[in-house]
Symmetry: C2
Subunit: 341 residues, 2 copies
DNA sequence: ATGAAAGCGCTAACAG
DNA sequence: CTGTTAGCGCTTTCAT
């Protein structure tokens, strides 16, 4: 366990002052008119002995940590996992590290998480939050910390945000089912009062209203273990045998729904058409392939990190709020095509 | 943006010394014989004004950050995402935060990541690394930092580790195919020189050797974009029409393999039997359901974090190396059952 | 039981 | 161009 080398050691060895070393290391050599030859000598020695400044001390002093806090619903959800991977890659490329945590839609846990991130002095936040933490986020915005909401907004909170236009996505998906001639189109969604979910429900409702068809919405209590979730879904389909098409508002409901339909032996799309929000390998490779409303993951990640870094690197612009709404894409596959009799 | 309250402010307000406040806050009141009534008063006021000690300053002073660094191959891979979610939950419950990064099997990137984690003074590491960073890890072990390798070992590195016995898992899966009467059993695996992969390959080879059947191993260059990966897999199956069963050594190869077989119109299991390593929704719900070697995710997470926390909380035991090997489970589904003609 | 004070390692203002 | 020095906010020893 070799002794840690300090800035002091390197200054002493080179017989220069600590300030000189620090300035050179922080790229202020030019500005402070330190001779190139000296600067070079410092850099070379630092490299040689592998000196690494203590980031904690540096952060304590400068107030910057170069860490971004990412708060998501659940890292095991493929949607969040993929976006997180993309954000991580992009952040890393720009010199930032990520500290991640999952909320599991628990607002108490989320409050703790936000507090932790503040305590750790993250430089900025990318947040997909459950409702119930509006006060905390408003305080965060007021504090001037750069922050961007993603996937979902928070009621009454004015902040940077990057979300997907689920209303339009769901509207188009529902319209597609209507055009295919389905009449009893159900929506299965989680019982969550979050902006992205209400948006999706609105798109569904509007399309059916325009078509003059009845709505059939089933909200599934949340959070739930996989077992009860499946039971609930099975019960829904058994209670509504006339339902000839179903939209799942999230990827996990879609997965669960496919399992339920298989157990019930309902043939897709002959007996029931299926569309799910979010794309993934299962939907693409299922038999039949499942029609989905695909979210633009790459753009979501790029815009979230881009917006955050912009306000991080331009503190002057704090106050300017950027809100982006990205368009999802309806990917029609066999599961929603009405079989010609 | 209200001014941050400091320990100094609270000491002044209560007309006690800074030391008293600090001691009370760190639970050393008893030890230092601070009166209960005073301690109570301090705690009450701290609570009242919502004072939060600056963790950076605290860490600089104590050398502890209460952050664990988790390095995995790819957070977008469901295996790692699930394990990460479980580890995060367990770590949080014990008061630790997680800093995650993905290596994408790039050893240069991994080296940078390890350096970053050191610079950020994480208290301990949980690592699933590519080969090529043995020297760095050995140095880390030597430095006395608690660390546990998971999923895969590193050649020549003696360290705590929690891995899955892929050799036995693959041996049993292969034996199962042999018992079902398949004769030309292929193994598709990534071209990666990592312990978990060589283990899986060994299990396959041994089972076939014992059965007196020929081996057919195809290594897929890695890393690769999804497109070329699929092309490569398609080419393999076209080149080996006689192959009547295939084992995929990873979940993503399994997914890609199913897509390839579908494109080629090969019926499973009539024309070719399929088994994949790792379980997931796709394999469970595919038609036909896919036989898998399921890894014990929960146990992997629990043992990894448990081992790490044990050595974190028991610095005395540094030097005692814990190596656990967990048993995977063969889950037989329709994809590997030989149809009776 | 308590207060003063010495750092943890670094940055940056200031005075040469 | 360089050296000195005052903190960043907290913990902990030591003397009281």
């Amino acid at each position: 366990m070799k002794k840690k080398i300090l800035i002091h050691d390197i200054a002493k060895h080179l017989e220069v002052s600590i300030a000189t070393v620090s300035l050179v290391l922080n790229g202020k050599a030019k500005e402070k008119r330190i001779s190139d030859v000296l600067a070079e000598r410092v850099l070379k020695y630092v490299e040689e002995v592998g000196y690494k400044p203590n980031q904690l001390a540096k952060s304590l002093r400068t107030g910057k940590t170069h860490v971004i806090g990412l708060v998501i619903e659940d890292i095991a959800n493929p949607f969040f996992a993929t976006v997180a991977a993309l954000i991580e890659k992009k952040a890393l490329a720009r010199g930032y590290r990520m500290l991640f945590c999952s909320t599991n839609n628990d607002s108490d846990k989320t409050r703790d998480l936000l507090t932790m991130f503040q305590e750790r002095h993250v430089d900025g936040y990318i947040l997909a939050l459950p409702n119930g933490v509006e006060a905390e986020v408003r305080a965060l915005v007021r504090s001037g910390k750069p922050l961007v909401l993603f996937d979902r907004l928070l009621p009454g909170v004015q902040a940077n945000a990057v979300v997907v236009d689920g209303a339009t996505g769901m509207y188009e998906a529902t319209q597609h089912l209507v055009q295919q001639g389905f009449k009893r189109i159900a929506l299965l969604m989680p019982q969550l009062d979050q902006s992205q979910m209400t948006g999706r429900a609105q798109g569904y409702a509007q399309a059916l209203r325009e078509a003059g068809l009845p709505q059939l919405v089933h909200k599934i209590a949340f959070p739930q273990e996989p077992g009860p979730l499946l039971q609930d879904t099975l019960a829904f389909f058994e209670a509504h045998p006339a339902c000839d098409a179903v939209l799942f508002a999230t990827n996990y409901l879609g997965v669960c729904g496919l399992e339920a339909l298989r157990r019930l032996g309902r043939r897709i799309p002959e007996e029931i058409a299926v569309v799910s929000f979010d794309d993934n390998d299962l939907f693409r490779l299922y038999s039949p392939p499942i029609t989905v409303v695909a979210q633009p993951l790459e753009a979501l990640a790029e815009d979230a990190i881009g917006t955050l870094l912009a306000s991080l690197e331009n503190p002057a612009e704090t106050g300017r709020i950027v809100q982006l709404q990205l368009a999802p894409q309806l990917v029609v596959r066999a599961s929603s095509i009405r079989p010609r009799p």
